[in-house]
Symmetry: C2
Amino acid sequence: MNSSMVMSEKEWLACCGSAKFAQEMVSAGPFSNYQEAVDAARDIWFNKVDVNGWLEAFAAHPAIGESASKTSKSPTSAQWSKGEQSTALATATDATLQELYDWNAHYRQKFGFVFLICASGRSTPEILAEIKRRYGNRPIIEFDLAANEQMKITELRMSKLFSANATAGSITKTPH
Amino acid sequence: MNSSMVMSEKEWLACCGSAKFAQEMVSAGPFSNYQEAVDAARDIWFNKVDVNGWLEAFAAHPAIGESASKTSKSPTSAQWSKGEQSTALATATDATLQELYDWNAHYRQKFGFVFLICASGRSTPEILAEIKRRYGNRPIIEFDLAANEQMKITELRMSKLFSANATAGSITKTPH
């Protein structure tokens, strides 16, 4: 017997805001465990979602240090975003937060999308150092880096989704 | 004494359909020769135009084997596009042209933008082999490749622009 998770398009969309990603995950599932789902998610994100889909997923994130309520269509995503930024917010001062706002604006001006970083466990000074370093990149390099950060965020959210669904007892027993 | 070319935003837009590219070329100019303009164009295209600008430039091209009249906002660009595809059209049969249409559709479906190739001097069988080979690429790899093809097309068009303006006597003599 294997236990498999049945996730909805809406749940996948909370992990990654690309409609194509969410649709493909539904088609590829159900998955018998977290690792199987992550393998599928990586394949879909890097090989099947096109550059417009990447931009769509990036657009679902708030600027780092800001609230997700304006950008995210998903309440789950907005709540997770807040949790992921808890270390950053705990280590921020008014001055560093202002500096982060300014760099977010510079970054968006240059690259045309939000600065994306898997913020979990990172302090505001660390994030500031990263945005300054990455600002010097060529747009295509930064686009690729942002997609890799998005995948890290997606995996983190998927692990929460699997835990939550397991706790809620939504595991479906399927014959082997 | 140097002779320098004064080009308009509209002329640069006929070389590359990104508004940012055209604006930055006007700001960077005038250029005393073709090579100086090409150096500036490469820097602007690869370092300053963001991924949205790349997509904007790609969207100004017709699908290969098709007329530019529907996609291009620039009559000059449409005319150049026709010239660039003259070898392809001369070597096409009804069957290879149909195959190219089909592959263009597959390509757009996978990558979300038009298949871009510097077609000048390339036969339809060569172009068909390229689209089939490139179809297997990851979206980000193909995006980068397409941007390099766009730059080749831009350089070819810039050389035509410089020749045309020199012939028309639009060279402005500026003091050294």
